[in-house]
Each structure stands twice: as structure tokens, then as C-alpha cells.
Amino acid sequence: MIRVQAEDFDLGAELAALREGRRDIGALASFVGLVREMAPEGTQASAPDSSHNGSGEQSMTLEHYPGMTEKMLAEIEAEAQARWPLQASLIIHRYGRLLPGEQIVLVACASPHRHAAFEACQFLMDWLKTKAPFWKLEEVDGKGNWVDARESDEAAARRWQGG
């Protein structure tokens, strides 16, 4: 199942729904990606405070391509279902403006066996990162910066072949 939504999701409720009424699932792996607070510019991540200007108000806005997003997520989920013996899978991806600490994405996979559940989750995230049409705009004190794609994400997607 896939969902693209502005609203937050209830991780516990989503995972409970995935295994609801089933007794054949042996392994349930899940992953949540969250908006991470950035260290203020010009400071080390370890510095307790900073002398930078502004309040440091941060946000992350996710833009997407309605229609193509759903199409690509469904294709990615179908590919995972074809590669691993999954009993259930779920992708939820949010769009819109999010604050540090908020949930961005959930993937979850249920399988009889743990390696399949783990691998399928990693695959979903790796392909989603490079194939689903989402873009992140970071804003600090109202100054926006489009996040650059990372070669490490491309490499992670390629390890599954066909990526």
C-alpha cells in the first residue's frame, strides 16, 4: 500500500494495521525518516550555542510531482514484492512544510523471515530516494536552499541492480 499525504501519520497505528489479524508474519521491519535539526551555519555540530544571526528557525518543505509520485511509489513497491516474499508492505510519504523532529516517510515490510523484511525495507528507501519525484527545500530564518542529491544515495540505489 502507498500513501502520499500532507498530514502526519501514526507510526504505531500503521504498523499495528499491517499485522492486524495475521498470525503468519514472522518479521516486521520498518523505517521512519525524520526532519533533522541542522547545526547553525558556521558552527560545529557539537557547539552548544552560536553567534549566528537570526533565531535559527528551520523548516523542510517537500515538493512533489502529484500523479507521478504515486505511480513511482507503486512501481517501487511492486518491485520489492517481486524480489522478496513479502506478506505486506507500506510506503507513506509526506509533502508540504515540516519542522525538525517531524516524520517525512515510513516504509514497512512484513515477511516470514527477517532478512527479507530488512532488505526489502532498505531497497524501498534506496529506490524511493532516487526514483520518487520529491525535492527538499531547507529553510533557515526564511532563507531557502534546495537540497542537493547525493552520490551516496545514487550508489545505494545501484547496489540493488537495475537502479
Binding site: G33, L62, E63, H64, Y65, G67, M68, K71, H93, I104, V105, M125, L128, K129, T130, K131, A132, P133, F134, W135, K136, L137, W146, V147, D148, A149, E154
Partner: protein
């Protein structure tokens, strides 16, 4: 008529999210060349095709892929979701 969609910094650099275009371009590459000549904003946003990704009717394509009248063509940077 081709419908063009722009996303992320391609959209903010060009200044519009969507536009319609009458064109004789037969490939994505020809369409891109035509768009680059449209305005300084277009020229700047579309200057480096290697930094861009293209979709025709919501399927990823390459510069050599065909475009046809009625297509929805999207141009955007590499994705950064998840």
C-alpha cells in the same frame, strides 16, 4: 501543444511551475534547446542538462526520447525525497 512542468529549483529559477508550448521539437533534447532560447531565466535554469531529469507522461526519459503533441513533459533536478 505540449504541457511543461517544472519542479524544485528548475521551477523557482524559471519562475513558473507550468507552461504550454506549441513546438516542432521531436525529442526531449530538441525541446530543451527551444526552451533554453525562451528567456534568460530558462537559459539559466536549463543550462546544464546533466543536472536535470526528464519525464514524459510521468515516465523517466533521456534527451533522445521522442515527444509528441499532447505530451506532459516534466523537467526537474535529481530527486531528494525520503
Amino acid at each position: 501543444m505540449i504541457t511543461l512542468l517544472y519542479f524544485a529549483w528548475v521551477r523557482s529559477d524559471i519562475g513558473v511551475a507550468q507552461e504550454a508550448l506549441e513546438t516542432k521539437a521531436e525529442t526531449v533534447g530538441e525541446l530543451l534547446a527551444e526552451l533554453q532560447a525562451r528567456s534568460d531565466q530558462h537559459a539559466h535554469a536549463l543550462a546544464e542538462p546533466a543536472r536535470l531529469r526528464f519525464a514524459v507522461n510521468q515516465t523517466f526519459v533521456e534527451l533522445g526520447s521522442p515527444v509528441r503533441d499532447g505530451d506532459e513533459v516534466a523537467i526537474f533536478p535529481p530527486m531528494t525525497g525520503g
